[in-house]
């Protein structure tokens, strides 16, 4: 393996580790919410610092590779994609932290009826599975899998689309839970963003492997 290959391999391993870290943050967020575990929420907030420093490390590694090796073609696309995937992952880390803060903020344990009506857990599961899919797509260089992530996002959009109505109805019926309801609404918005980040990552993986730019294209064009 030549020197640049060795550097790129390290970069890839580090990026996959960043993926794992962020996925674990989201999973803990889901658990902290469903079990109303404030200690776990605090742990997420602590771990967010690690996500941030990991982001800086990956950025620095990319900068060094550009400066020292001037990668071209597929290598160049890989480093460019890494830079962008890295910032998407960091934002997902922020979202997990935001969710943890909501859990800390809620006084009473989340109302099961509200969770059910808003389909929040379904949203969690879908967004986590999207991130896992893009991670696997990168690991196995599988652009078909990366493309399937675009379809999964439809579900998140659907749930997000009716969230105002659902939460509004719940508040009218249960006005003493207004704070909690608004927090849940914010979580829905955040998880919808996770879906968008996963789609962005998918686009970067396809750019890296196929040299195709899918940004700002319609869903039909991305197939």
């Amino acid at each position: 393996m030549n020197h640049l290959d060795a550097e790129l391999k390290m970069l890839r391993l580090d990026m996959l580790e960043m993926f794992s870290l962020v996925i674990s943050q989201l999973e803990k967020g889901r658990q902290a919410l469903t079990t109303f575990d404030k200690d776990l929420a605090r742990e997420i907030i602590m771990t967010e610092k690690r996500v941030n420093s990991f982001e800086l490390k990956l950025d620095r590694d990319c900068e060094n590779i550009f400066a020292l090796f001037q990668p071209v073609a597929v290598d160049l696309r890989f480093v460019l994609a890494t830079l962008k995937i890295n910032s998407n992952l960091e934002r997902i880390g922020d979202i997990a932290e935001g969710i943890a803060k909501f859990v800390l903020d809620i006084r009473l344990s989340p109302e099961p009826k509200l969770l059910e009506a808003t389909r929040l857990i379904e949203m969690f599961d879908t967004s986590i599975s999207m991130i896992k899919d893009v991670k696997l797509a990168l690991e196995t260089e599988d652009t078909a899998l990366a493309r399937r992530v675009f379809q999964k996002d439809d579900l998140l959009d659907e749930i997000n689309g009716i969230a105002n109505q659902t939460v509004g109805d719940f508040i009218r019926a249960t006005p003493d839970r207004i704070n909690q309801s608004l927090n849940i609404l914010s979580m829905i918005r955040k998880l919808e963003r996770v879906g968008d980040q996963a789609k962005n990552i998918s686009e970067e993986i396809i750019f890296y492997i196929e040299a195709k730019v899918l940004k700002h294209r319609s869903k039909e064009e991305k197939k």
Binding site: N2, H3, L4, E63, N64, A67, L68, F69, Q70
Partner: protein, 253 residues
């Protein structure tokens, strides 16, 4: 720059008659590292390189001041055995300079002039050196062929194998790839990356990208002065001195 330093130069001045080519240079190199010397033509980088195997001694009117030590030993001390020094400090030049001999004899040469004539030992050393120089697979069936029959890139790797045969600790390289095509250049660069596991390497290069690719530390020379010496990552991403930045970004020099 971690690890123990194998080479240390302190307050080195070098004059060619009245002309001062090196001005108060101090730097040290750690073991098993690659140090790149960069800078515009005439900046003193090759002169500095040649200090370490006393190649400048051959030039008329040269005067060297300062303290230069390899593995703690003053290499300009009176009575120092220069042949011993050059065995420890091998050198590879810009243009491949094989001897008009067979491939095998080129690599065996250093051993023979050192009085070694144990056949098996010589054969083993030739094979090991050619392997280390990433040339063995290409020449193993033609060891008796003239070195001149090899391509430029192969000749350069042969010269590296010849330098390795006498088991040096340090290898000086003076623009070792500047006369080679891109593929041969890539091979030499890869080789440098592998060789640093066993050797300490100092390389002079005009090719800044090459310095970035192969070296751990980079020294930027300008008009006989050492402007900046730091990790290559630092020099190529955020140099301390504006002159270094201007040079590596191609804005002067």
């Amino acid at each position: 720059m971690t690890g123990s330093s194998i080479i240390e130069a302190k307050n080195v001045n070098l004059f060619y008659k009245d002309f001062q080519a090196l001005k108060n240079i101090s730097m040290s190199m750690t073991e098993n590292s690659v140090t790149a010397l960069i800078g515009p033509s005439g900046c003193g980088k090759s002169t500095f390189l040649r200090i370490f195997n006393r190649m400048n001694d051959l030039i008329d009117g040269v005067r060297i001041e300062g303290d230069i030590r390899i593995q703690g030993k003053d290499i300009y001390a009176k009575g120092l055995d220069i042949d011993e020094l050059r065995k420890k400090v091998g050198m590879v030049f810009q243009k491949p300079n094989p001897f008009p001999k067979s491939i095998f004899e080129n690599v065996a040469y250093g051993l023979r002039v050192n009085g070694i004539n144990h056949k098996n030992y010589i054969e083993e050393t030739v094979e090991r050196s050619l392997k280390q120089a990433a040339l063995w697979d290409e020449v193993k069936d033609n060891l008796k062929k003239s070195a001149y029959a090899l391509s430029g890139g192969q000749q350069q790797r042969l010269c590296i194998a010849r330098a390795l045969a006498v088991e040096p600790s340090i290898i000086l390289m003076d623009e070792p790839a500047s006369a080679l095509d891109p593929i041969s250049t890539a091979k030499i660069e890869e080789l440098i990356y592998q060789l640093k596991e066993k050797y300490t390497i100092i390389i002079v290069t005009h090719n800044m990208q090459q310095a970035g690719r192969v070296s751990d530390n980079t020294a930027f020379f300008y008009m006989g002065e050492l402007i900046e010496f730091d990790s290559t990552k630092k020099v190529f991403t955020n140099p301390e001195k504006e002159r270094t930045q201007n040079y590596i970004t191609g804005r002067f020099g």
